[in-house]
């Protein structure tokens, strides 16, 4: 057990950390101390400097100035290997696992115990089993990594750091890929780890998780650390305000939906991916003018393919998609755009923007060939620039010049740019796929308001999101997708996160409701 004096010395302390990239200070005098046995959340908007700070701690970046202390001792972390040796481990947001390896093989990769020339897998497995038991990380070391769930893969990542005897664990946006149930399990694991004396740093912009998991919070804003305070008894609203530095609203205000005629009609849609795996399976859904339909589901259940099939980016095997009475099945993307779709794509860097082309060009990427942007095949720069300037002002996109490449914008501003382009075009339906992924509260608030106003303009809105909060907040109706099928459609006012969470695993609405009432009854007893 740690004694009193040891407990007072922080497990990790970062003092006056400054990291400059050219003239820009990503970290500008940040102070952070994390005690052994606590979960310490780092709260900050995108681009506030959280990742830079953690990259410094894990040895990927060197600070321009400032000091780092490990249990009171000054240290220099010159590379990731040093960080690992010092007991600092990172649980990455995107798992770094080899699918074809077993769990145990993945864990020991790079830190293999050898017996002579050969791997000593047996000893390794024994140590892994001990760790699994000690920290209650239910995962089978013998299982093939490709076969286990995302939540379990994350546990493998945690085990990797523990296997390397990490005392300081950094969790980078760990819940982004998890279902609500898995999130609860992860929080329990983190609490276990902390109880065993590990220092946990949690990076997230989900405020509810901070309230549930963290002991203390340090706010980082524009590269500077602000106050550190107790995470208990703090409301999510207060957290958000501290993060953004102003008042924010979480629930988007909206009037009751004025549902109009059927705009998008999807009938028995079946889509296979490039490998011939059926990703959308006999799916039917219709969306009316003036309503927001939220498609809720776990990542990889056919959401991407559904959106790509509607927008003409992937081939439809069978079924029919009708937009306002016009058959758009397997039509070219341009035809579909012309018939009135606006599409905020899931991956703004791959689909949404030409990051190496100017913002101005990006703003006309779908209609650059039409008047007034082009005349007789010749681009009219003045019209293009005027249009871009108008959108930049109207949607408050922060950029120094419209001739700058779109890739120079921050994530939030890139998304605003995509939004500006899509919402300014004439359309009957707005298809928004993960429209707020990776964005901070301020930007999310803005995008939500815009989507609701599109609905109020009488457009149909299809919202695909992994964030249940977002769907519950925005959607009028929620369609739950699982294995490429719509499991059920519910009224957003008559459902709960738990119910949706169960349906996302493939349970029917009826069964989910039975299950929930059964657990409630159990809890009462």
């Amino acid at each position: 057990m740690v004694n009193q004096t040891q407990q007072d010395i922080p497990a990790i302390e970062m003092k006056h950390i400054v990291k400059k990239f050219g003239d820009f200070a990503a970290n500008d005098d940040i102070n952070l101390d994390v005690k052994a046995g606590e979960i310490h959340a780092l709260l900050g908007e995108n681009g506030a400097g959280k990742s830079t700070l953690m990259n410094i701690l894990s040895g990927l970046l060197q600070p321009t100035s400032g000091e780092i202390f490990l249990r009171g001792q000054k240290i220099t972390i010159k590379d990731p290997a040093t960080a690992a040796k010092l007991g600092i481990g990172m649980v990455h947001q995107h798992f770094m696992l080899v699918d074809a390896f077993t769990v145990a093989e993945n864990i020991i990769l790079g830190a293999e115990t050898t017996k002579g020339m050969s791997l000593d897998l047996k000893a390794a497995k024994q140590r892994i089993q001990e760790l699994v038991d000690k920290y209650k990380l239910a995962v089978d070391p013998e299982a093939l990594t490709a076969d286990i769930s995302v939540g379990q893969q994350q546990r493998v990542e945690i085990l990797k750091t523990l296997y390397r005897q990490a005392d300081v664990l950094i969790f980078d946006e760990p819940t982004a890929v998890l279902t609500p149930q898995e999130i609860q399990e992860l929080i329990a694991i983190m609490k276990n780890l902390a109880a065993e004396g590990k220092a946990i740093i949690l990076i997230t912009h989900k405020l509810e998780e901070i309230r549930q998991a963290a002991d203390r919070v340090t706010v980082i804003r524009a590269g500077k650390s602000y106050e550190t305070f107790d995470a208990k008894n703090v409301s999510a609203v207060t957290l958000a305000e501290k993060m953004v530095g102003r008042k924010v609203s979480f629930t988007t205000e909206k009037k009751p939906a004025q549902v109009g005629k059927n705009i998008l009609d999807i009938e028995h849609l079946t889509v296979q991916n490039a490998e011939g795996v059926t990703k959308v399976n006999d799916l039917s859904l219709d969306i009316h003018a003036g309503e927001i339909i939220g498609v809720a589901g776990i990542d990889g259940n056919g959401q991407t393919e559904l959106v790509q099939a509607i927008t003409g980016l992937t081939h439809i095997q069978s079924g029919k998609v009708t937009l306002d009475g016009k058959d758009i099945t397997n039509k070219s993307p341009r035809k579909i755009i012309q018939s009135g779709t606006a599409h905020i794509p899931e991956d703004r860097l791959r689909h949404g923007l030409e990051v190496n082309m100017s913002l101005a060009y990006n703003m006309v990427i779908q209609n650059y060939y039409e008047s007034p942007y082009a005349k007789m095949g010749v681009l009219q720069w003045k019209a293009i620039a005027d249009h871009a300037r108008k959108l930049v002002n109207q949607f408050d996109v922060k950029i120094t010049s419209i001739e700058e490449p779109a890739g120079a914008l921050s994530g939030g501003n890139q998304q605003k740019a995509v939004l500006a382009r899509e919402l300014s075009r004439k359309s009957k339906i707005v298809i928004a796929a993960q429209p707020t992924r990776g964005l901070d509260v301020g930007a999310i608030e803005y995008i939500h308001k815009q989507l609701v106003s599109q609905r109020d303009l009488g457009k149909a809105v299809l919202l695909v999101s992994f964030e249940l909060d977002e769907i519950l907040d925005l959607a009028d109706k929620i369609a739950v997708i699982s294995s490429g099928k719509i499991i059920g459609t519910v009224d957003a006012k008559e459902t709960s996160k738990e119910e949706l969470g169960l349906m996302m695993t493939g349970m029917s609405l009826q069964k989910a409701r039975q299950e929930l009432s059964a657990t409630k009854a159990e809890a009462k007893q």
């Binding site: 993307p333 035809k335 599409h343 791959r350 689909h351 923007l353 082309m357 779908q366 095949g377 681009l379």
Partner: protein
């Protein structure tokens, strides 16, 4: 804007480094680099005829450089310019010789068009195969070079005897099909200069306009930079790729036409597809993606080649050294990362010394910023 400045700087530095490295090699082999380069310059610019030759030889280099640039913009690595050029060369000479009854201007226009179309088709094939089946254009174009080489050679040997000079070369296209300009030839002491150089410059401007100012150029750029985003935006990325490769092939083909109707005035059996096609890549690389850069790089390589031919007689340095220098320049352009590192270090050292000093010295970095802006 600073980026383009940097690119130009890299190109210039690459040339300097290439020449310096060439000098070192001359020293190692016991030649005097000053007399070596001196004889190169003296030869290149010494006689009107050689100056004419420089213009003549840079003509196809400009066109193949443009060809590479256009393909590159669409995301293609066109190694087939050599074959595309040869196809057009053979085709244009055949056309010019096969229809002697036509009026001169029709012969020239017809021969040019026929050559450009053959070049375009040679580019279209790899473009189509890549767009439709995802086949690597690198392998296809390399293989097509051989196909075109042997087809072209066998075409030449099977041309009717009347238009052949020997078994493996054709007659001169002569007055009817030549694009030579009499007063220019006279001015340059009967060098091989022709209207080709003017065609190349006009086409450069035209291609610049197409690529930078038209919707077609816009779609090529969009597809080349991010085909997924282009497809999302409704651009037919496959058709755009095919058209871009056709244009690229046509440009290389035009280079072949100027060889046939201008520089050589005939066509003859080749041992390998013409080097000019490959050198176009070097031109485009050194030109660092800019249109003026292509013209300047073509002029440089052409001057080096013409000048190099005089080195053995005057200073005893073998002509091969010029190939080494050109190769080294390309090496330095290719390893631009090293040069960029160098530029960065120099700038950092500059900034550091400016930061440590007070007063007037402190203004130094600001000054460089301003000059950069002014250049932009």
């Amino acid at each position: 804007m600073t980026q383009t400045n940097n690119k130009a700087l890299i190109a210039v530095l690459s040339v300097v480094f290439g020449l310096v490295a060439g000098a070192i090699i001359m020293l190692i082999f016991g030649y005097n680099p000053f007399s070596g380069y001196g004889s190169l310059i003296a030869t290149a610019f010494g006689t009107p005829q050689n100056i004419g030759e420089i213009f003549s030889q840079m003509t196809p280099l400009i066109l193949t450089g443009l060809s590479f640039l256009v393909a590159q913009q669409a995301g293609f690595f066109n190694i087939g310019m050599s074959g595309q050029l040869y196809a057009a060369w053979v085709g244009s000479v055949w056309f010019a010789l096969a229809f002697p009854q036509l009026p001169d201007f029709l012969i020239i226009i017809g021969a040019t068009l026929f050559g450009v179309i053959l070049g375009g088709i040679s580019g279209l094939i790899p473009g189509y195969l890549r767009a439709k089946f995802g086949a690597s254009e690198v392998i296809i174009t390399i293989m097509l070079n051989y196909v075109i080489l042997y087809l072209g050679n066998s075409a030449i040997t099977s041309f009717p005897k009347a238009i052949r000079q020997t078994t493996d070369s054709t007659n001169q296209v002569g007055d009817h099909g030549s694009i030579a300009i009499k007063w220019l030839s006279d001015l340059t002491n009967q060098s091989s200069i022709s209207a080709g150089i003017f065609i190349a410059v006009i086409v450069t401007i035209l291609v610049w306009f197409i690529m930078k100012k038209t919707t077609f150029g816009f779609s090529i750029e969009a597809v080349g930079k991010n085909a997924d985003a282009a497809k999302y935006a409704g651009i037919n990325e496959k058709a755009t790729q095919i058209w871009a490769m056709t244009l690229s092939g046509a440009l290389a083909g035009l280079g072949g036409v100027t060889e046939g109707l201008g520089h050589y005035g005939n066509v003859f059996v080749q041992n390998s597809t013409p080097e000019t096609g490959f050198n176009g890549m070097a031109v485009a690389l050194l030109g660092s993606g800019s249109f003026i850069g292509v013209i300047l790089a073509a002029a440089l390589f052409s001057a080096l080649t013409v000048g190099g031919s005089g080195m053995p007689n005057i200073s005893g340095v073998p002509t091969e050294l010029v190939s080494i220098v050109i190769a080294l320049i390309i090496f330095f352009v290719g390893s631009s990362y090293l040069i960029q590192l160098l530029i960065k270090k120099i700038k950092a050292a500059d900034a550091a010394s400016a930061g440590s000093g007070k007063g007037p010295k402190g203004k130094k970095p600001k000054k460089t910023d301003q000059t950069e802006e002014a250049q932009a």
